[in-house]
Symmetry: none
Subunit: 255 residues, 2 copies
Amino acid sequence: MLTAEREQRILQLLRDSDVLTVGALSEALEVSEATIRRDLQGMHERGLLERIHGGAAFKPDAMPEPLFADKQEQFTEAKQKIAAAALAMIRDYDTIFLDGGSTILKLAQLLESRRHLTVVTNSLMAAAQLMESGHHLILCGGEFRALSRTLVGPLSKPILESIAVDKAFMGTIGFTLSDGMSTTDANEAFTKEQVMRRAKQVILLADHSKFGTRSLVRCQLDRPLDVLITDAIDDKLRQALVDLGTEVVVSDGSC
Amino acid sequence: MLTAEREQRILQLLRDSDVLTVGALSEALEVSEATIRRDLQGMHERGLLERIHGGAAFKPDAMPEPLFADKQEQFTEAKQKIAAAALAMIRDYDTIFLDGGSTILKLAQLLESRRHLTVVTNSLMAAAQLMESGHHLILCGGEFRALSRTLVGPLSKPILESIAVDKAFMGTIGFTLSDGMSTTDANEAFTKEQVMRRAKQVILLADHSKFGTRSLVRCQLDRPLDVLITDAIDDKLRQALVDLGTEVVVSDGSC
DNA sequence: CCTTTATTGATTGATTTTGATTGAATATAG
DNA sequence: CTATATTCAATCAAAATCAATCAATAAAGG
């Protein structure tokens, strides 16, 4: 029996009985409990059902359109790998910040596999993604910037100042050795700076297309970046960053 | 038997008999009393029932808060009319606050017909609606509350204090003459209070089903409500509100 | 045909849930 | 108000369930 077929039948059975045990499903579909668990895990990560200890429960609103959705995407595969490498740095009960940007959004999608996180973010897309995740979710306020779907500007300052995050996962428009991170909007840069100043560890997620390009406004950071996660980087830039004290992670397929 | 299944049956039994002892539940579900106690504690924390010494009681006057994902909304027509009446109070270039709730969301949908508004909100649904509207959009920060999809709690205070809105359009779970507005969550009530304190004019949008019902936490307001917009109201309540200085608007089809 | 990849079921140690026991807290009766 | 009887929350060991791992099998591709 194919995976897709099993999933269809599981959903059908769930609609009938609301709650099902792993054992009952294993018997009904004539596969082992291990397989059922794998199916349930996968379906849970896609939001198709509630996973409970001992079985699964029906989720009334199976997959509504994600709020604040945005379509165009580039380098999705590279971004996926970068996000996976970033996920490896997150432990249960961590307090993290998620910046805007599509790479960070991919990371947000992976956070279902962690528990009891406190997630602070200025990205409405990330927030929408984590809405039903069960994690403690805090949004910094501020002016809404439609282009990036983030909250930016001076209004975000008071909240960000009253919060201390362990790890801040940042995105960027451009990155050069001389100027560091840069972005297109002054308010956006301001908010990024607020976040990074208060974070124990600043982790930049940037695919190779960002290197060497520079945007309008620099994001000043009073110390070197803690970690850079990317998909590919030339040795010269890499060595320069390492010399500054930045850990450089190149995510290959192994993650 | 799974946790979710037990919880469903407990709620079912409670609807039938209002009050149940731990022993009776233990016998009915064939689990130990310790397990029942743990279940009751968890359900009490989520506001699903009232915990009393020796057992559990059905929550008589705690209206189940409508879940946002719920497709089948109640009184949509009435809410539409109320929103239309509220829209009539908004001029171009106004600075307004939008609360959470489905009625306010309908109002947000109508705001396309205005220009150059500054909209402050704690509702992610309203923000999603206004994303592409061209209005200046500001979100107050705070903890995300999944049930209402709003940002609530003490973290929202600094932003709300630094902003002065002309008109605050508020929703509520319950409304009574003696207690005023009430809602199910203390943090939510706190944020509502912050907003109303700073607003020049407080405008409550509530359909008739809200009157006479009361939820857990009161939202204190240090002055009478400025305007109440509803679809139907009995003369006694109306006169009492008018005597307090509240303008009562009943939206018929004419809007 | 052989190699590579993906899927399955079994096994393992780790985690979660459960029921029993305890002393503390609460309610009831006198 | 005190004494007694319940009920409660905390703790612990046993049972159930889980995620991770591994070998066997099936499928895909060269």
